[in-house]
């Protein structure tokens, strides 16, 4: 099975069922199947071939969903890029994966799409969505999404890929600060989605709401899985307007609610009494652990629904889930290996550890992805040989402990990566941007505990330029970084602690902060 079969199979079985509710549109499986065929024909005609990368740079929208499946039907590999990414990083990612095509929202702020044609030599075609009649970009290498839909053939395309071919790259932050593209082949996605559907017990009647970005695997898989089981997806742009989301849940009789701790923290503060949320069958959490108090509060707020606490990393999609019947007994646990996979905990010498001992979580199964795109060293570190010849297991870099019954508890990360709003932030990436400002001598970026964000980003800055202000630093970060990477706090210091090798002692700064917070 291939990933685009999720759509074509459901379109064959349930052609008139509304598959996607988004932005006032209600698209059936047939609509989407035909739209993706048309766009795929256009991509092929403009030179996209088997294995070529097709980047999608858009907020959650019908066009983004169509772009994903069109890329696959054209034989390509889709790459969804967070729509708040700024020009330089966007250019770097497109060049890193040597994208052949870019499907983009013409309205995105701060990004000059025309410049990309020059700066990204591999780009053969740009498909522009949402072009206002006034500001239409005319260039032979840009085509218009609506024009493609009006002009191209809707006939199915020949199958050119097999399930060992790549289906997508998902860019994620690494500790070096350089984004890395996690490569998933079709079989990885087919396996991971099946395993998750199994434990969530999804059925065709499920209506899943998704407000997480499709650049984030958790958001992306809501689309993939829902289309696979023939359900309905309600796609929202974000959780910015919580009341609008609650109203949508009521109107669409939503049964599946995927959230992250920040969303649950906001939800739990609201007066939910005026909404009928009885249709919700299950809630899921991943990206960062929920505080146990929130786990219990969610249970009290939605006593009729099942709550799944989960854990994963892009490199294996999902890794662990806590069966809902265990959630009150072990609210701090993120559970056991997902169906069809196994995990264990190792010490630094490769010895497997027993209950109560803390070590690195290692993952084995067909959801272990194919490595990082053109990054053999990083790949070799994370994906190592497994028990059988030719097999890879994933070293998560996350520290875990197991209880006597085999349930797992997240302890912390081995590296400095910050988790804010459930998104990974590499301190180095933020530090590099702040260093661009004149007069900055030293920067250390750390995560500080925050009740809503999980961790808030704090930058310690040593500047020789006394005029440098917090506002200037934040404005610069905002112009260069995705929204979730912009620091919440800036503190000027005369100096920063250094360790014996002369590097900034980040841990020392964090320890000082944590001590301060707990007293």
């Amino acid at each position: 099975m291939l990933v685009h079969d999720f759509l074509t199979n459901s379109a064959a079985r349930l052609p008139d069922k509304v598959a996607l509710v988004c932005d006032g549109h209600r698209m059936t499986y047939r609509d989407l199947d035909l739209m993706t065929n048309r766009l795929a024909h256009a991509l092929v005609e403009h030179g996209v071939g088997r294995g070529d990368r097709v980047a999608i740079f858009m907020p959650n929208s019908v066009e983004a969903v169509v772009g994903i499946f069109a890329a696959l039907k054209a034989g390509g590999v889709f790459v969804v890029i967070n729509h708040t990414t700024k020009q330089d990083k966007l250019t770097a990612i497109l060049n890193n994966c040597r994208a052949s095509a870019l499907i983009a929202d013409a309205q995105i702020r701060d990004v000059h799409l025309s410049a990309l044609l020059h700066d990204v030599p591999s780009l053969r075609v740009g498909v522009l969505c949402n072009q206002g009649a006034a500001a239409r970009i005319t260039h032979p290498r840009f085509i218009d999404f609506d024009a493609v839909q009006a002009q191209y053939d809707a006939a199915p395309l020949p199958r050119v890929t097999i399930d060992l071919d790549l289906a997508c790259l998902i860019y994620t932050s690494g500790s070096t600060g350089e984004p890395k593209g996690v490569m998933s082949d079709h079989s990885n996605v087919v396996f991971a989605s099946e395993s998750i559907i199994t434990y969530l017990q999804n059925v065709e009647d499920d209506v899943v709401i998704n407000m997480l970005p499709l650049s984030f695997d958790y958001g992306l898989y809501q689309v993939l899985m829902t289309f696979r089981f023939g359900g309905r997806l309600v796609l929202e742009r974000s959780f910015a307007y919580p009341a609008a989301i609650l109203r949508r849940i009521e109107e669409e009789r939503v049964t599946g609610f995927p959230g992250v701790p920040t969303i649950y923290a906001l939800l739990l503060q609201m007066d939910l009494s005026r909404y009928n949320l009885s249709s919700i069958r299950y809630l899921t959490n991943t990206a960062a652990a929920l505080p146990p108090s929130h786990v219990l509060e969610i249970r009290r707020t939605f006593p009729w629904a099942r709550l799944y606490s989960m854990y994963g990393l892009t490199e294996t999609k999902r890794t662990l889930y806590l069966p809902p019947e265990e959630v009150e007994r072990r609210p701090a646990s993120v559970g056991i290996a997902i169906p069809g996979t196994e995990v264990w905990i190792e010490d630094e010498h490769g010895n497997r550890l027993g209950p109560g001992e803390v070590g690195e979580l290692v993952v084995r199964g067909r959801h272990v992805m194919r490595g990082y795109w053109e990054a053999p060293e990083a790949t070799a570190q994370r994906f190592r040989p497994g028990p059988l010849p030719g097999e890879r297991v994933c070293y998560t870099g996350d520290l875990f402990r197991m209880d006597d019954d085999g349930f797992l508890y997240f302890i912390g990360r081995k590296d400095d990566i910050i988790k804010s709003r459930g998104e990974k932030v590499a301190p180095k990436e933020v530090e590099n941007v702040i260093y661009e400002l004149p007069g900055v001598v030293a920067v250390a970026v750390v995560g500080v505990p925050d009740p809503i964000l999980g961790q808030a980003i704090k930058a310690f800055v040593v500047a020789k330029n006394a005029d440098l202000t917090e506002m200037q630093i934040l404005a610069h970060c905002r112009s260069r970084l995705e929204d979730f990477m912009v620091p919440r706090y800036v503190e000027f210091r005369d100096e920063l602690p250094v360790n014996t090798s002369g590097k900034i002692a980040r841990r020392e700064l964090m320890q000082a902060l944590n001590t301060h917070c707990s007293t």
């Binding site: 907020p59 729509h83 708040t84 309205q107 995105i108 702020r109 701060d110 742009r237 974000s238 959780f239 910015a240 307007y241 919580p242 009341a243 609008a244 609650l246 109203r247 920040t262 923290a265 906001l266 503060q269 609201m270 007066d271 005026r274 505080p291 108090s293 929130h294 709003r421 009740p451 809503i452 964000l453 506002m471 200037q472 934040l474 404005a475 905002r478 112009s479 929204d483 979730f484």
Partner: protein, 107 residues
């Protein structure tokens, strides 16, 4: 506080420039432009806007009012504030429960 309807959009713009755009005045947006679509506020920016409105205009924002029709442009926001102020002169508005600082009981 004495606020005229004319002041409201200007005060909202000043707040956005200073607190959400960190002083960046290069972004040109109309009163009708969607905050979300233009990337002016992100999901947590809306929560910050609530805190600002409550402090600046002395209104209280109820949870169910957190919808784009009230919040997603300078125009929507200004009209919403004007409606709230008008209602407040007629009757005392109920206190909001969407005050992050007060109601959060985390670790």
């Amino acid at each position: 506080m004495q606020v005229t309807a004319l002041d409201i959009p200007a005060q909202i713009r000043t707040y956005i420039t200073h607190n959400l755009l960190f002083g960046d005045e290069s972004l040109i947006y109309s009163d009708e432009d969607s905050f979300l679509e233009r990337g002016i506020v992100d999901s947590l920016g809306v929560i910050e806007l609530v805190t600002f409105l409550e402090a600046q205009f002395g209104i209280s924002v109820a949870d169910h009012e957190l919808i784009p029709e009230n919040f997603d442009s300078v125009k929507n926001l200004a009209e919403y504030v004007a409606r709230k102020l008008e209602a407040a002169t007629l009757a005392e508005a109920p206190r909001s429960s969407f005050d992050l600082g007060e109601t959060y009981a985390g670790p």
